[in-house]
Symmetry: C2
Subunit: 345 residues, 2 copies
Amino acid sequence: MKWIYPDFEFRPKRPLFLCVISNTDTGKIPGLSAAGTTPELTDYTPGADAELVETNKIITMPELPEAPGGSPTPAIVTKAALNLTKIPSLFVASGLRKKPAVPYVELGGVGGNDIRKQTGVPDAKMLYENATLLGKKLATLSDCIFIGESIAGGTTTALAVLKALGYDVNVSSSFATNPTGLKTQVVMDAFSRAGIKEGSLKNDPLRAVTEVGDPMMPAALGLMRGLAGTKVVLAGGTQMAAVLALGAALGIEGDISIATTKYIMEDKTANFKEIVESLGRPYYYSDPGLENSKIPPVQIYAQGYVKEGVGMGGAALLAAINGVPREKLVEETDHVLMTVELPKK
Amino acid sequence: MKWIYPDFEFRPKRPLFLCVISNTDTGKIPGLSAAGTTPELTDYTPGADAELVETNKIITMPELPEAPGGSPTPAIVTKAALNLTKIPSLFVASGLRKKPAVPYVELGGVGGNDIRKQTGVPDAKMLYENATLLGKKLATLSDCIFIGESIAGGTTTALAVLKALGYDVNVSSSFATNPTGLKTQVVMDAFSRAGIKEGSLKNDPLRAVTEVGDPMMPAALGLMRGLAGTKVVLAGGTQMAAVLALGAALGIEGDISIATTKYIMEDKTANFKEIVESLGRPYYYSDPGLENSKIPPVQIYAQGYVKEGVGMGGAALLAAINGVPREKLVEETDHVLMTVELPKK
């Protein structure tokens, strides 16, 4: 059964699945992100996602990362896809406060600030350069690199940079009901603090990241830049669409596309397709069929909860092109969730 | 001109140069290590080596790492070889206290203890498992992986684990005159603290690492284990010979050899050749010809100062098999040293 649209024709010989993990205090604004049951736990979510994907254990967080609606982290789908394909993953920390207890690449930097109150990513330039260096190395080893993300609050900073670049768009949410009013208010407050206007940074994308972005962005951008010559697939929804827009503004060239989920494509409150099409980059989406899960909190992904994250859509695409049947991915996702080891209380 | 002995016939397509960076308080025992001008600075030496190789800048240490005799860190030779071959490097932190300001892989763990006073590597098992996980990933990407090290004090812990495994041998030193008496005393004190005897841990190599080793060892061992199926070349002198011995005791199999410098081969106070030959593993050594340097502190490498470190011998081998003339490596080494950027005072 076909479950990737349109066809992804390239068959990588040595694929690598990267996932940038970062924190931003913007994600702690109450009501903004569903990644982490409480604002305090959001700092631990990306590290816990890394632990789940690398070892199927949660080590540094007291519980499985989940949304307030009770859906588990999309890392379970990513883990399932990587289990079934044996494709290696590598987590890349960029401005990450709580480090995972599994191997990861450290790019440095401090956690991102609440963009309403302070410069979002003071060390954006350094993170961009360090990620470029890493990208150059990986370009010699892999012929196709997927780049996902895990950062709570990232859709709001995505909205902020898109507006700073002049895009009149909206972004998705990990909530089923997108808190667009709150997001827009945060962006307006941040613009007012930074003294910028919609479109005023279209020629200074790194300043947009620094002022109103998050630390995932300079890492993904630097990787894209360093990986020139290798096929790059951004794995994510509107956050990665924002990275694509920033990359275009920076003049980053190469074989760059984006892969996400059907749930993002169906999100009427967000403009994923418009942004990507305006940039002239190919996009792909997978329909992982999670309504067929035996576990209700996983089934409701298909109703628009969670939607994306930890490169879930790209990982599902990798499973599909490696011949994994869709029902097998759902089955393995359920298995991952049923067997994940949690810290003893 | 031939400057690698014997011939290294494999021509890797996607080589990767790893370097494990770690700390041990054993290296702070006065008179034991020449890596870092003062015992206090030894914690910064591995990170500074990483910074030098990745960016030709020293960022987190106040000065270029050097030996008391005034010789600069062997990282300059490694950097020169990687510059000339464009082979990617990746530094891997394992029990590292002072982190570099460049991208690196973090395996976790705390700095190693003074083996006379405490268990050397309390988290050896975790580091071994994490490194195994990393090795498995890299095995899918590279067809030949070199593993070097930078850890001040590592030859003493190497001596300790070799004796715990039952090898009646000696190890090299970064000093021109090997402080063998002091090293043996440290090992005896450590054995007495841990309640072990020469050879008493020959069937429990991970306990040897835990009790009297350093955090570089479980990382190098785990990488070797995870990399099964990929060609592995340990790049170092007697420290890597100790890793080879530990790997044999652990039953780690694969295409594993060791590459070092002529300066290690000529060290009459150490038993590099005996250890490696007894294990039946191929060894190679390069003669980088540093007596032809225009810079006296580099020339004296050829008189037995420094000898090895940061995978210098293996990096020189990579240069040679990639057709770099020996005089070009010396010239580039001088160039690296003359142009390295130091922190502003």
